[in-house]
């Protein structure tokens, strides 16, 4: 069973208790001013956003094949079997490729940290895999729930089927970036509540792999070709020298 989150924005009342409990967990300050910041940052790993009368939550989508994990040169980001994408600070050198690569613009950086800046992002409460995530436990309307991905997809489909009037008939996260462990339901098209619809439908690591897979070939055929040309040219010179010497 791989952990996943279903966030149903139709049920969300925008109480922001998920934000508060998340900040507590990471020992980050939380106050009215921070609550009013409607974006994720290094001091706010999940954010509730207002769109008129509707709300939406932003958090790490925990892709099934994450761009951030594939690009990290030191494997400081890893997709665990349990589902969460976790960050190992002790490996990170701060190149920030994960940030440029993330299709959802999620990882943040502690820019003002002078000596030990680090990447910050939601880790789906990977410290307590037996219990639901803190944001799920605290949610008063059950708009965020934790569970197995396949089961959550079934649940989401059932909600759409039962209340077709209340739901936009799609689940954000089934295809986005090749599939994510966070799934989202909405009453309106997703871009109207702040979700990026330009995210490719394929697993992004495939794009770079298309180039990387040729490396062994380039190394072998390149060396052989260059070596061959070098040898041939050298040989020509040698023969010329010998014949000249006769």
């Amino acid at each position: 069973m791989a952990r996943a989150i279903l966030y149903d924005s139709v049920l969300c009342v925008g109480c922001r208790q998920c934000e508060e409990t998340c900040s507590e967990r990471w020992k980050l300050p939380y106050n009215e001013k921070i609550a009013a910041e409607e974006k994720v940052s290094a001091h706010k790993l999940t954010a509730v956003r207002t769109h008129g009368e509707r709300f939406s939550r932003k958090l790490c989508m925990h892709c099934i094949d994450p761009a951030c994990v594939s690009v990290c040169p030191v494997a400081a980001l890893q997709k665990t079997e349990a589902g969460p994408v976790v960050y190992l600070e002790e490996r990170c050198m701060g190149c920030r490729y994960c940030m440029t690569a993330c299709p959802f613009q999620v990882p943040s950086y502690t820019w003002s940290e002078r000596l030990a800046p680090k990447v910050a992002k939601c880790d789906m409460c990977s410290d307590q895999l037996k219990e639901p995530t803190r944001c799920s436990s605290i949610c008063p309307t059950e708009s965020t729930i934790t569970g197995d991905r396949d089961e959550l997809i079934e649940k989401a489909k059932a909600r759409i089927k039962e209340n077709p009037k209340d739901y936009y008939p799609a689940i954000y996260g089934i295809e986005e970036a090749g599939g994510t462990s966070v799934l989202i339901l909405s009453a309106v098209p997703f871009d109207q509540i702040g979700y990026n619809m330009n995210v490719p439908k394929e697993a992004l690591p495939l794009t770079t792999w298309a180039a990387l897979q040729h490396i062994p070939n380039i190394v072998v055929s390149g060396s052989v070709l260059m070596g061959g040309i070098y040898w041939l040219n050298n040989r020509k010179e040698e023969v010329a020298r010998r014949e000249g010497g006769k």
Binding site: P107, R114, P117, A211, V219, S223
Partner: protein
Amino acid sequence: MKLAMPKITFWRMIFAGLMLAALWATYVRVTGGLAASTNLSDEFPWGIWIGFDILCGVGLAAGGFTLAAIVHIFNLKEYKPVVRPAILTAFLGYVLVVIALMFDLGRPWRIWHPLIMWNPRSVMFEVGWCVTLYTTVLFLEFFPLVLERFKLKRAISVLKAMMPPIIILGVVLSTLHQSSLGSLYLIMKGKLHPLWYSPLLPLLFYISAIAVGLAMTIFESWHSARAFGRQLEWPLIQKLSRMLAVVLALYVAMRLFDLTQRQAWHYLEQPGWESRLFMLEMILTIVPMLLLFREKTRQNPTGLYITVVMFLLGFVTNRLNISITGMERSSGVSYIPKWTEVAVTFAIIAGAFAIFRFAAKHLPVFEAAEHPAPAGESGGRRSDLVSAGASGD
């Protein structure tokens, strides 16, 4: 012996100013972190330290492997006089790239981490390894100059015997990481503007690196001829410029084919900076290409120099368009580098010029090309070039 104060000239003043500014910027970077020294943000995490110092820096140093391949592998010995300056530039370039990277990394003292913490799926991991190995290769290619300077004949002969595999390794490593700098952006699908995002990015980066390697070699020859009152290796430069014209034509053809193939031309109608800077980049690439095909341009040292500089600017515009211009729209913010970022970048460029000059003066960089200018002409720098041009016909 009395120590003489260096003569104060206009360029030395500029140089000192840039170095002081960079020193101050370094202080800000060290004491205030990336927040104080850059305008980077969560939305825009890569700025000019990556876009210029790394992407352009590595590209502009591509002459090292291009010329090494031409001379030592394809055995075109006539190009020998320009291979040493090209390797010197490359070695300098890579060392400066690593220094620039130390500014950009959040925790620069962990720069060695990719060597032991592997992730073979990462393009950056591959680039890190290639750049590390290639900088070592360049050091070995460059080191004979130092040995020659101190006349260590035994060491030279040992190193010479090792050279062929080292040079082949250098060409392979360069092929890998020059193209991989383009592969870095393959993952930005949906983020990088479609005028630049292409599955061909690795190939385009590689071809343009070869072109810029040739262009930099011409650029250096022109400058060192001026600075040291040497004769320009004119017939050679002309041949190199013909080669450059062909590589550029290939590059331009690929760009045009790619844009057509991806049906991306209509993005030029989109209002905003992208289309304008795209046009600038294209003009600065296509115009020099056309000029290089004109025999008249190739026969005129000044004309050729201006043409080459135009392409160098076009190359820089391309790399900055990919790393900055093309990334802005999807990020939702606009990025303008802070003075500290600019100061470090300019200091690195100035440093490159200064160290090259120093090395060229004290090491046998141009020794292979020993044919001093006739006495009458060595005084006037400009006349040197003109006479070199005339003698080339």
